[in-house]
Amino acid sequence: MIRIEGRDKVTGRATYAAEYPVKRLAYCYPVQAEIAHGRVAGIDTTTALAMPGVLTVLSCMEPPELSPEADPELALFQRREVAYRGQFVAAVVADSYDNARAAAGAVRVAYEPASHDVRLRADHPGLYKPEKVNPDLPTDTEKGQVAAGLAAAEVTVEATYTTPATHNNPMEPHATVALWSGAGDLTLFDASQGVTYARNIVAQALGLRPERVRVVSRHVGGGFGSKGTPRPNAVLAALAARAAGRPVKVALTRHQMYDVTGYRTPTIQRIRLGADAEGRITALEHEVAEQSSTLVEFAEQTASPTRIMYATPSLRTAHRLVRLDVATPSWMRAPGECPGMFALESAMDELAVAAGLDPVELRVRNDPDAEPASGLPFSSRNLVACLREGARRFGWQDRDPAPGARRDGRRLVGTGVASSTYPARRLPSQASASIENGGYVVRIAAADIGTGARTALTRIAATALDVDPDLVRIELGDSDLPHASLAGGSMGTASWGTAVTLACQDLLRDGKHGFADTTEILRTLPNLARHAFGAQFAEVRVDADTGEVRISRMLGVFAAGHIVDATLARSQFIGGMIMGIGMALMEQTVTDLEFGGFTNRDLAQYHVPVNADIERIDAVWLDEEDDELNPMGAKGIGEIGIVGTAAAVANAVYHATGRRIRDLPITPAKLLL
């Protein structure tokens, strides 16, 4: 199906958060902390206030009124302590963007710096065991005796894998336009992956009842997790509009996004893996060290995929976290699965080499009957079928396993494989459906961040109503609509689609109006392991002289339940794989050890894949039926594409060059040194 809002997007009519035409709009530009840790000693706003067009200055010297319940990242200007370089300490409101920015540069901030600690290391004395890891998973799991399993193993792999901090970098910078009504109601046009959630969080921060806040987010220029929670720009816009007595826009710069909109924590992961002479795993251990800020505990679930991937009598996973003087990490596409599977699937490749087994065969041999850590049965699991189908399509059967053995001119050629997985979850949502003007209108506070949610939900509603999709209109992206979960965790289509289907069925019963709330239904589901799986294949060409890695072919084969829309799904899978190529080869945000913060805060220095980086790439899927998911029989597809990509590339680089790179990204320097 052609994207419903596609015409608006190609003609420039689609309106993103910063683009709503609002009268008497003022602009707010933040001032960021220049130290990594310490205290603001004083702020001199005299010059700034005297500059043209300046309306007011907000700062931590005169804390604006906020609720003590506010999330620490959103509790703007409440304390003079600086938790990380780049934290907002003040902001200027002016009549134009240029005036606000110029005056922000004239705000003089004096600091009392304290020593800072911004470096994650595996032996950091501050590492501790958090209560749980994102989203609500056990921190550690243990089954059997890893030491015994390793002792009984014929071959073992013990290696440490590291991934750097990476940033979501959606193309649309985070932005908010805030308007207060005379009665004290707040409307935010915000770049948000979930307006119901955003409304509740912003209302909490401001000490308002949720009904007093409306969040509108009709088009979102990508999020990849970074717009899953309201960011400081949302609360800043509200505070600035309240102080200035007129509507205010806060449009973050690309640089500011690196500091206040979340990022993927760097990880240090140790894997110990043992197998018998036939390649059957006897022990698997995955230990992770990662970071969060001193403000907020965010513990990424990096070892969680290891709990579900392979059969083993002994299995241990553990997460340890250290709180540093750094910005707060958060969700970035497939938090947990993405960095964790780079380590696990690299280690599996190393095990295949050590055992002299084909890496596809090794994975097939260790496919479990039930979820390894929990023992729960799978609702469906077709990893083996994905591996087999991918091997067939990719031409894997003729592969010579010897590393560094194929050359095409200056380039060393190699192929690699890795598995992918992502949970199939749902969150409670509401939806309404009604007949209006001879058509059907479905309302839900869902978000379309580029996933094609409007289009997918239209199809789902049309199926439930048994009518032509042209007769269905979806309204989303407004917190005044029936409450919905956010676009995240690959849960959107499954969560919203359930509510939409039930609302449409209710409409068919009622004849005029239908409504559904899935909260109760989701409480009584059978306890099963529900996950999507995939197999990813990559062919790389490594320049023997420069170390440049080109990915000449990439294939993903996925088993993700019923695919709601083939066009949208292919775009999502491929998009995830391309972001995975960025993770594999170029993406890293470098922490400034001396001054704190990040050194490369723009797109000239933080490299994402460009068009010329992508050659032959394809994604296909298996027909998978699973009655234990949702009315659509669908598993989420927004994240699984990125999960196995980096390991597939790293494994192909090993095959091409004989060099095992365990530290992402795989830059030319690492291959040449």
């Binding site: 052609i2 994207r3 420039g12 963007y97 959606p170 193309m171 949208l568 998009g575 972001m579």
Partner: protein, 162 residues
């Protein structure tokens, strides 16, 4: 400072702050928000417009330097309710997801198709190069797409170039 320029065929005379970029003039003053701000530093291509028929980054163009310029933005590509062939091809080939880079991709592609001469990946430097997929990828690499719609963007452009 007062300048007169033409945007999508419509003349505008505006008094502008000498610091304001063409992009901010379009977005904040002329209510033409189709051109997007992704980085404001000429690093992402989302703000690409056509200035006198050539693709240009409007975030790096000062408004005051546009006296007498003819600007075309994404809003000006379609004529008489008919989509530009590239707009139609982007829809048909699903060459967009979130849509935020799309206006820049479209303006860039329009400008690119009118360009002549070799690129960094052209092997034969004499004569006009054939617009292969590799040439399109190279010539469109100034326009980032974080959703990863690149393969479909190339397909869409190739369909129009043919």
């Amino acid at each position: 400072m007062e300048i007169t320029l033409e945007v999508n065929g419509v003349p505008h005379t505006v008094v502008v702050d000498p610091r304001i970029s063409l992009l901010d003039l379009l977005r904040e003053r002329l209510e033409l928000t189709g051109s997007k701000k992704g980085c404001d530093h000429g690093q992402c291509g989302a703000c690409t417009v056509l200035i006198d028929g050539r693709r240009a980054l409007s975030c790096l163009a000062l408004a005051v330097a546009q006296e007498g310029s003819e600007i075309t933005t994404v809003e000006g590509l379609a004529g008489d309710g008919q989509l530009h062939p590239l707009q139609a091809a982007f829809l048909e080939h699903d060459a967009l997801q979130c849509g935020y880079c799309t206006p820049g991709q479209l303006c860039s592609a329009v400008g690119m198709l009118a360009e002549r001469g070799p690129s960094a990946v052209t092997e034969e430097l004499t004569g006009e190069p054939e617009l292969t997929a590799a040439e399109i990828r190279e010539r469109m690499s100034g326009n980032l797409c974080r959703c990863g719609a690149y393969p479909n963007i190339v397909t869409a452009i190739a369909a129009v170039a043919r």
